[in-house]
């Protein structure tokens, strides 16, 4: 079991080559975001596209550059639990301030 998981890690751990690939993907996604901005899309659609793209960039950096994908789960817990709390709070605040609750 121990050997297996070690092997497993060995296999998946990104090295410089993967990092550069991911860097390129990040750059590409940013370029797409830039492009989307100039397409005359419906604002709601555009918002969702950007949210998805930004989230992907976010997850790539967190997962690979910050190594969270391969690291101890407890780090993820420490990082993502406030994230969930904050997103919820922010969403509630937006709803309140844009009078969606009246």
């Amino acid at each position: 079991m121990a050997a297996e998981s070690a092997h497993h890690e060995e296999h998946n751990h990104p090295g410089p080559r993967q990092y550069i690939v991911i860097g390129a993907i990040l750059a590409g996604l940013t370029l797409i975001e830039f492009g989307v901005f100039y397409l005359q899309l419906d604002p709601a659609l555009m918002t969702w596209i950007i949210l998805v793209l930004s989230t992907s960039k976010f997850m790539l950096v967190v997962g690979y550059f910050m190594h969270l994908k391969f690291d101890d789960l407890r780090f993820s817990a420490l990082f993502f639990s406030p994230f969930v709390i904050m997103i919820t709070i922010a969403a509630v605040l937006m709803a309140l301030f844009f009078n969606l609750t009246r």
């Binding site: 991911i22 555009m46 949210l51 690979y64 910050m66 190594h67 780090f75 605040l93």
Partner: protein
């Protein structure tokens, strides 16, 4: 209960390093910090009574500075990979790249703020000015701290205090740097792209911006 002698005093219960755990906890806390700032900005959207608002954001320029920051993150992870393999030269090179790219980003930001002041937007102008500039200003402060940290690492490595054996130091600094980067990913997506979408005069302004930027750099 038992008393067993010879247990290593420095082991940790989780097997995780104290400092790395601290950094992750700090980043969790910083999520709340930036979340609150960004949230404040968002709930004040379109509430300014006068003065320029999102229409003055320059998407082309910020796309470039975003790209620079992303690439600094790439350099950061390459620096870490280098030092983990004992390649000190590579480590120093990439760390300097991080610091330089970070500085370029700050340069863009300073230009942006100056440009906004020129267009009549300061933190005192309106709600947009207050929330936008304080939020991005705090992000810029984080980047600045990161830049100082990078230089310290490079210098410390010349003094032999940073080496393959304590690459963890670099890893922790890297976590911080990447975090600053992802905060920017969010700000760029939500505040710039979504925020400025549909704002008038954008195209014209951007060209003007770009021209100024070109003349400045």
């Amino acid at each position: 209960m038992q008393y067993v002698t010879g247990i290593d005093d420095h082991r940790t219960s989780t097997g995780l390093d104290n400092r790395k755990l601290l950094m992750w906890a700090f980043l969790g806390s910083d999520v709340m910090f930036f979340g609150t700032l960004i949230g404040t900005h968002l709930i004040y959207r379109n509430r300014s009574l006068s003065g320029p608002q999102e229409e003055i954001l320059s998407i082309p320029i910020t796309t470039v500075s975003t790209f620079v920051l992303l690439m600094s993150s790439l350099a950061m992870v390459l620096a870490l990979a280098a030092i983990q393999r004992g390649n000190m030269g590579g480590f120093r090179f990439w760390t300097v790249v991080v610091a330089v790219f970070g500085s370029i980003f700050i340069g863009f930001q300073m230009f942006e703020f100056a440009e906004f002041a020129h267009l009549g937007l300061t933190p005192r102008t309106n709600l947009f000015g207050s929330t936008f500039l304080v939020m991005t200003g705090f992000h810029g402060a984080h980047v600045t701290v990161g830049i100082l940290w990078m230089w310290s690492l490079v210098f410390a490595s010349f003094k032999g205090k940073i080496h393959q054996g304590n690459a963890l130091q670099v890893e922790i600094a890297g976590l911080y740097w990447h975090f600053v980067d992802i905060v920017w990913i969010v700000i760029f997506g939500v505040v710039y792209l979504i925020g400025a979408y549909g704002a008038e005069n954008r195209a014209l302004e951007s060209v003007e911006h770009a021209a100024r930027a070109a003349s400045l750099i």
